[in-house]
């Protein structure tokens, strides 16, 4: 029997994915759970296992195509007895002039007598608004079940007419639906959404690159964050001379004892996690007009992988020792760089830490990892002459200094709370010295 292969729901907040490479072609035999197709989401790349054993008969979603979770991506022929998910579940909900003078239209006479012979009339129709009976026939398709089932006819037509790349637009409609207005705004702006560059003559001085799926995902994610979250920024400088000294003194012993690399990252991560514990507002999300505080402190760590930025998550970071953090970071960064991350590796982040200093940066205004409340960058550690006060005496000394820069969702916190958090991280890092017991 024909079996519809649907794109499985792979994780929280993932609504769509890009089809990567089909590992089987029509005609191929496949066993249940064998890898069938590679998909790319904005969080992770993964192999989708075959939901049944049988023969692939048709590939519906082509490589590079963006499809919604739950959509049928292929058909296969199975032996009798295998029942398609689509057949067992409930049927899916339906996919989803001239201005007139007021006088011409007329005005309503207050308290007008309207009985058959002009008798007195008591109007109750305007005072009762609670009834639901009369809206019973308001098209059910307006309900939640139909949202986000694709683009409306006019959106599709306008996009084709004006060469707008719909997947690059951020929808303002219900559930992020791209509306007619969104397309017209993109045409008006003549900007991001237009794909005209690849269609039209491009002079020899320009080269047009089709972004990879993951590049496009990153782009959409960034636009969404900037569109939705009112960003504000704050930065402090941290004297990390003590931390640098501790790291230098303990690094090789640590690596011998524990078998994992020791960078500055697990140290800052531990301090950041404990500061988040003390400032729970920074570990939250803005959801439908409410602030949702997250109990778990799961810190995402931005990693520059070959194809682009990925953000593996260190779960329950506040409950781990530096040794444990170093071990987890080591593993996850390696998996990120080799493109072998699991969903678990990228899910559930509540805050993001980005060590931009590794690239030599000394200041940054990062874009928040939507829908989190804030992102912190640790910048390059540089030796600088610093004025140090010892009682009455000021002197200029050479210290290892590092800037830390926070981007925060101003709906959730104000500058005062952001500064409190930054001061907490700063004092936590500055407290480290050669005598510290960090293991």
């Amino acid at each position: 029997m024909v079996f519809n292969v649907e794109l499985p729901h792979v994780g929280e907040s993932v609504t769509e994915a890009v089809i990567g490479k089909w590992l089987k072609a029509p005609g191929d035999q496949i066993e249940k759970y064998d890898p069938l197709v590679e998909v790319i989401t904005d969080k992770v790349n993964m192999d989708v296992p075959s939901p049944a054993s049988g023969t692939i008969t048709k590939i519906i979603a082509q490589e590079g195509e963006t499809v919604l979770m739950g959509a049928v991506i292929a058909e296969m022929e199975t032996a009798d007895g295998e029942v398609s998910a689509a057949e067992t579940s409930e049927p899916a909900a339906s996919e989803a002039s001239p201005s007139l003078s007021a006088g011409r239209i007329g005005t309503l006479v207050q308290g007008a007598n309207v009985g058959p012979t002009g008798g007195e009339f008591v109007d109750t129709s305007l005072t009762s608004t609670k009834s639901t009976a009369s809206t019973a026939n308001l098209g059910d398709s307006v309900g939640s079940s139909s949202r986000q089932r694709g683009f409306s006819p006019v959106v599709t037509r306008l996009a084709a007419q004006h060469s707008v790349e719909l997947s690059s637009l951020v929808g303002t409609g219900l559930g992020g639906r791209v509306t007619k207005k969104d397309v017209l705004a993109a045409v008006e702006a003549g900007g991001a959404g237009l794909v005209s560059a690849s269609d039209q003559d491009v002079s020899g001085s320009e080269q047009v690159i089709d972004p990879t799926p993951i590049r496009r995902m990153i782009a959409n994610h960034m636009v969404k964050s900037v569109m939705e979250i009112p960003h504000a920024w704050s930065a402090v400088e941290v004297d990390v001379t003590g931390m640098v000294a501790w790291h230098k003194a303990n690094r090789s012993g640590f690596e011998t004892r524990h078998g994992v690399r020791l960078t500055y990252l697990p140290i800052t991560l531990a301090v950041v996690a404990s500061s988040l514990k003390a400032n729970p507002r920074l570990n939250s999300t803005w959801l439908d007009g409410k602030i949702v505080l997250k109990k778990a402190i799961n810190v995402g760590v931005a990693v520059a992988a070959e194809e682009g930025l990925v953000v593996p998550v260190i779960h329950f970071a506040a409950d781990s020792s530096i040794v444990e953090l170093a071990g987890e970071l080591d593993g996850v960064v390696m998996r990120a760089r080799s493109g072998s991350m699991t969903l678990e590796d990228v899910q559930g982040g509540t805050f993001t830490l980005n060590n931009t200093g590794a690239l030599g940066s000394i200041w940054g205004g990062a874009i928040i990892n939507h829908p989190q409340a804030a992102i912190l960058t640790t910048e390059a550690i540089v030796k600088r002459p610093v004025v140090v006060s010892d009682g009455e005496t000021d002197s200029v000394v050479v210290r290892s200094m590092m800037n830390i820069c926070l981007s925060f969702d101003h709906r959730i916190v104000d500058g005062a709370e952001a500064s409190e958090f930054l001061q907490s991280v700063k004092s936590g890092l500055e407290a480290i010295n050669l005598d510290s017991e960090l293991e």
Partner: protein, 327 residues
């Protein structure tokens, strides 16, 4: 320009037309010495006499049968049905016979008759004084059905109906009779049958409606400005033939259609408008074609609270506007 209520516009239009054309007669229950149950023909018997303003027995089949007989023999009768709820005995004369005269005689005969029918609820009329009966006639080829909602439209469309060489059903919403007041030019004018009118231009969505609901829709559109929703309101005015071009033009322009009616929605005017929009505007739609109407129960409850719950209201329309606009 004098201000009139709908009922005054109806009365003066009949009077002016009867002065203009001697072949026009008026017949119905109590239309003579009583002046009509709503006083639509008040005083006309004094001016035109018993031969042109005829009190009939309580027999709607007779009223419409006589109207049809006089019409095919050269007169221009205006029949009044006291309440739409009483029109059922005359269905044979109207749907079964009058609608077929021109076609059935190969154009040799026509039936230039007007049937005025007060309809609609919101007047605490209960089951037998509140019905919306437009669908029965609007479904019938050979009949025209108009439903003016303003004094201006009442005059222009009634004049067109009286002058039409084919039968026209004029539906007057009885709630609007003394509720709606507006400018009506003294001079004679007609409004073409089959022409809708945009009563309020807008850009975000269009409400398609008629009758009393026009006024509720306009109120709701005004309320929606608070949420910066710019609502267009199109008054269908004629229910057969529907102004398909105007409907399609507006729906295509705004991309979202909300159809509001007082009649129960199943197999109704709103079904037809939705079909037109679906057929002609598919590639311009940016939301589901949406209908707002009362629940599917035999209209209409007598209890004031239940009647209010049954009838669409500006608040209910506003809720539908908001929902559709947000999509």
């Amino acid at each position: 320009m004098p201000e009139q209520t709908v009922i005054e516009a109806v009365r003066e239009t009949m009077q002016a037309e009867m002065r203009r054309d001697d072949s026009i007669i008026l017949l119905g229950e109590d239309v003579g010495s009583r002046g009509g149950v709503f006083l639509a023909s008040d005083g006309l018997i004094d001016e035109f006499g018993e031969n042109r303003v005829i009190d009939t027995p309580l027999a709607e089949s007779s009223i419409c049968g006589v109207a049809l007989g006089t019409a095919v023999n050269g007169m221009r009768p205006i029949a009044e049905i006291q309440f739409a709820d009483f029109v059922w005995p005359a269905i044979n004369q109207l749907v079964g016979e009058a609608s077929k005269v021109r076609y059935g005689t190969g154009g040799a005969k026509t039936a230039p008759m007007t049937v005025r029918i007060p309809y609609g609820g919101g007047v605490r009329g209960g089951l037998y004084h509140s019905q919306s009966i437009e669908v029965l006639f609007a479904h019938t080829p050979g009949l025209s059905v108009v439903a003016p909602a303003t004094p201006y439209d009442a005059k222009g469309l009634l004049a067109s109906a009286i002058r039409s060489d084919d039968p026209v059903i004029v539906l007057e919403h009885k709630r609007t009779y003394r509720l709606v007041k507006g400018d009506v030019p003294t001079e004679e004018y007609t409004i073409p049958i089959g022409k809708a009118e945009i009563k309020r231009p807008g850009t975000d969505l269009t409400i398609f409606t008629y009758g009393l609901m026009l006024h509720y829709a306009l109120q709701a559109a005004e309320m929606a400005t608070a949420a910066e929703i710019d609502v267009e309101v199109l008054d269908l005015r004629t229910l057969r033939p529907l102004d398909e071009d105007a409907i399609a033009e507006s729906a295509s322009r705004t991309g979202k259609a909300l159809i509001v009616q007082e009649d129960t929605p199943a197999v109704s005017i709103s079904s037809e408008v939705a079909a037109i929009i679906g057929e002609r505007c598919f590639f311009d739609l940016d939301g589901p074609i949406t209908r707002l109407g009362p629940p599917e129960i035999p209209p209409m409850p007598f209890s004031p609270l239940q009647e209010a719950a049954f009838m669409p209201s500006p608040e209910k329309i506003l809720a539908a506007i908001t929902k559709l606009a947000e999509i």
